[in-house]
């Protein structure tokens, strides 16, 4: 492999190394003091009821950002479908090369579903969330199509159903963000009770958003993977 060294590339690499070094040195110098601790660690739990502060930020305080990200993902799926959907091949054989691969791919699917449901359902208590959950289950579906062929999935869930689910989840998500208007509150705020901190049913709307985002991302990622495979005619 030959590298062409340009002065700008060298400068960029040096700058990147400097930033990393400064961050690394600063990490130990900068111990959190009292005020940020109560601001970022104690207050979110009191205000949103979710133990996972990251989830409380992106599904409560900054729900606006997350809704826009879901829309960006939706547009990405539309783009892939638009450019790859025109020339599809019907018969896609499974990747039937090795018995070991086929068997172990099929065995991993239930684990992927379990992990996905866990991440989405408890996203407000522990690390995780709808996005990762959807991608994990979609990857599990890819494993199934490696093992049994893509038709095994499409026989049960037709393309129309999956598209319907994707857009339905998006619609429900947008409707949920507007729901507070009906109660005379600002849009994108939380209307459900916070519940007891640390329980599965707590955190207000955060578990609902996690579930909707999970379904939306599952359907969307599967549509993308499916378009790639169908377009080439082989997995």
């Amino acid at each position: 492999m030959r590298f062409r060294v340009r002065p700008l590339s060298v400068l960029t690499v040096v700058a990147a190394c400097a930033v990393v070094a400064i961050v690394l040195l600063g990490y130990h110098a900068n111990r959190p003091d009292e005020a940020p601790y109560s601001t970022y660690v104690v207050r979110p739990v009191e205000e949103t009821g979710a133990v996972n502060r990251v989830a409380s930020i992106y599904l409560n305080y900054r729900l606006f950002d997350s809704v826009l990200e879901v829309l960006v993902f939706f547009v990405a799926v539309l783009g892939v479908r638009h450019y790859l959907g025109t020339r599809e091949r019907t018969a896609v054989p499974s990747l039937a090369e090795s018995e070991v691969v086929r068997t172990s791919s099929a065995l991993l699917f239930p684990l992927a579903v379990l992990l996905g449901v866990y991440l989405a359902a408890l996203g407000h208590l522990s690390p995780g969330g709808g996005f990762g959950a959807g991608v994990i289950v979609a990857s599990g579906a890819l494993l199934v199509s490696i093992s049994l062929g893509m038709d095994a999935i499409e026989r049960r869930f037709s393309l129309g159903t999956i598209e319907w689910v994707e857009q339905g989840a998006l619609f429900l998500l947008l409707a949920a963000t507007l729901l507070p208007l009906a109660f005379g509150r600002a849009a994108l705020t939380d209307v459900l009770p916070k519940g007891r901190t640390g329980q599965v049913v707590s955190g207000g709307m955060i578990p609902v958003y996690n579930a909707l985002v999970g379904v939306k991302v599952l359907a969307g990622s599967w549509l993308i993977l499916r378009s790639f495979v169908r377009h080439r005619g082989e997995i």
Binding site: L119, P127, G129, G132, F228
Partner: protein, 259 residues
């Protein structure tokens, strides 16, 4: 603390290794390993959410999509019929002079070689249809050389078994037999059936009934065929063969496999 710095120190090393791999699959696996280490680093920095996303998206999904993507572009697909010494099965492997050349060429391009055995008469056709990148297996040039054959890398001669070719000065002699060479039954062609024409490598490995062999005087050579629309690949293969000739490596390989 030591573990944290160990992971951080490994990140640029793994990134460099992944970037400098020639084989695409190795580069992709290196990238997946980088994502995995990055996820571990995030975990050590008390960011489990980010670590989880990095592991799911970077290490799992992106790697899977890239592997799917290179399944077609990451391999050099060769179709050939067996020719003893040049490209032949040995157990469940394929060995021979042509196989060695193609394997080195594939490595030179950063691809994985895949060889599929097909009947001799279908090799050029499959390459023309674009179902394979290169046709091999003791291909002997027809006299009117089409553009995308490579220049011969080894001289050979043609032998016709079971009666002469029909007609004086009619169709020029070409390698001609039906089906796979491995399934050819020479003895039964004696007298009956169509005459078959074999190249030197194949001819030497069959047991031929007496008095039925015609040796064609024309000078011929073995070469490879590349699809019509793959002139870039043709240029690369020709250049690589030239490189083997110039360094004397081709002679060494020929002595090892053929003589």
């Amino acid at each position: 603390m030591i573990a944290r710095y160990a992971v951080l120190a490994m990140l640029p090393v793994v990134a460099f290794v992944a970037l400098t791999q020639r084989r695409r699959l190795a580069a992709i696996i290196g990238m997946g390993l980088f994502s995995f280490l990055l996820a571990v680093a995030y975990l050590q920095l008390h960011a489990p959410d980010v670590a989880l996303t990095e592991a799911i998206i970077g290490a799992a999904l992106t790697t899977a999509i890239y592997v799917l993507a290179i399944r077609r572009t990451g391999r050099l697909a060769v179709v050939a019929d067996e020719a003893p010494g040049l490209l032949a099965r040995e157990g469940d492997r394929v060995v021979g002079l042509e196989h060695e050349i193609l394997e080195r060429f594939a490595k030179h391009l950063g691809l994985d070689l895949s060889v599929e055995l097909v009947p001799y008469q279908e090799v050029a056709e499959q390459v023309r249809r674009g179902e394979a990148d290169i046709g091999a297996g003791g291909l002997v040039l027809p006299p009117d050389v089409p553009d995308l054959f490579t220049r011969p890398y080894l001289e050979t001669a043609l032998f016709t078994i079971g009666g002469a070719e029909t007609g004086e000065g009619a169709a020029p002699p070409m390698v001609r037999y039906d089906g796979y060479f491995a399934e050819l039954e020479i003895e039964r062609l004696d007298g009956a059936g169509r005459p078959i024409t074999l190249d030197l490598a194949r001819f030497l490995s069959v047991r031929v009934p007496d008095e039925a062999v015609v040796r064609h005087p024309e000078r011929r050579g073995y070469s490879f065929v590349v699809g019509q629309r793959r002139s870039e690949l043709h240029t690369e293969l020709e250049a690589y063969l030239d490189h083997l000739r110039e360094t004397g490596e081709l002679d060494r390989l020929i002595r090892r496999y053929v003589v």
